[in-house]
Structure formats: structure tokens, C-alpha cells
Amino acid sequence: SAVISQKPSRDICQRGTSLTIQCQVDSQVTMMFWYRQQPGQSLTLIATANQGSEATYESGFVIDKFPISRPNLTFSTLTVSNMSPEDSSIYLCSVAFGQGATYEQYFGPGTRLTVT
């Protein structure tokens, strides 16, 4: 397992600004993911952020809007750019261990973003 922290835990931002969310893990992991959970809804995968390669974005998410950095095996950032009220969500990072039958993901506590 892993202990995952995110900063900030919550923020209220104005339309048109950007926010960078940090994700810190207490152990080295190759696979890291970013998710969005809109109010009252399920989690949607934004992108996969593996160290040493460009992030891979899911359909509907683009790098210009959600740039991701992965400078090392314990840290990643997600930026929400040029925010609009529709970006109000909880943003979660997760890390994965194992493969096949041993594969599991562990999630951070989330960053609750409100855009006004």
C-alpha cells in the first residue's frame, strides 16, 4: 500500500485562473493516475502519468487544459488551466502497484475545487 497526500485539500478559484494540484507518495511508484469526480458523480480518469514519459490523456481531456508533470517516482502535479465553473470537482490522484492478479490502485484524499 501507500500513503498519498494531496495539496491543496480544497480551494476556491476565480474563473479564468489556473490551479496546480500536488500529489506526493511515500514510496516510489511507476504508475500514477489523475481522476476527476464531478459533484454527485463517479470518478473519470483524466490521464496516466508515468515517470519518464509524457502523460497519456483519456478521451475528452487535453494537455492544454490539464497539463501534468511527473518529475520523479514520488511526485506529480496536475494543473487545471483557464478554469470555468464546470471544472468544479474533486480531483484525485492514485498510484498503482503490482500487475495481473496483484494489481491494485490506492487513492489520495482528493482536492475539492470550486470555481466561481
Binding site: 504508475m31 463517479s42 480518469l45 492478479a101 494489481y103 487513492f107
Partner: protein
């Protein structure tokens, strides 16, 4: 493509009665399936997972789930609900790449005293 469908958006049970949260999956191969729980204002916690070993999987807090290939189902059950079980439950399938999670829409469980 892999996906899961959670058949009930809300389930309400009385304390001490059985819990059944339903999940059907769609996959072109034998999937890995998970159940996660999310308590209010808290992070996601893994309850249990199925990875093609035993079809009946036991998890934490008395929960278990049975993988039924013929019914493409992976329903979550608990014999006796506790007040602390009130939360949002997500059924999850792994994507074809073998490392991406795809979440169901969630089932909100209410436990009535």
C-alpha cells in the same frame, strides 16, 4: 471496451438486514474487478477484488462479492448492515491496457437505524 454498470444509484436497508449492491460488467476478456467504498469527505478504500482466482471473494468489514461469468455480474453483499456501512460504493473494472481503472456510476447506501 471494458465497462461496469451499477444497477442501483441508491439502496436503502435497515440496520442488521442484508446488503446487496449490484454490478454488471462488460468485457471482451476475463476481467479484473474491484469494489471501492467512499465515505463522506473521505478517500476511496479498496473493499475487495476479483482476479480470476476464487469466484467468491471476501473483503474487509464483512463484505464479499461473487463473480458470475454466466451472468456477467459481480454483486457486493454483506449479511448484516451496520450504520458505519453508509457510504458510496463503486464497482471498477480494469481496462484493456491492464492498468487503467474504469468506475461505475456508484451506489449510495443508506442504513436506517
Amino acid at each position: 471496451a471494458q465497462s461496469v454498470t451499477q444497477l442501483d444509484s441508491h439502496v436503502s436497508v435497515s440496520e442488521g438486514t442484508p446488503v446487496l449492491l449490484r454490478c454488471n460488467y462488460s468485457s471482451s476478456y476475463s476481467p479484473s474487478l474491484f469494489w471501492y467504498v467512499q465515505h463522506p469527505n473521505k478517500g476511496l478504500q479498496l473493499l475487495l477484488k476479483y482476479t480470476s482466482a476464487a469466484t467468491l471473494v471476501k473483503g474487509i468489514n464483512g463484505f464479499e462479492a461473487e463473480f458470475k461469468k454466466s451472468e456477467t455480474s459481480f454483486h457486493l453483499t454483506k449479511p448484516s448492515a451496520h450504520m458505519s456501512d453508509a457510504a458510496e460504493y463503486f464497482c471498477v473494472v480494469i481496462g484493456a491496457a491492464g492498468n487503467q481503472f474504469y468506475f461505475g456510476t456508484g451506489t449510495s447506501l443508506t442504513v436506517i437505524p
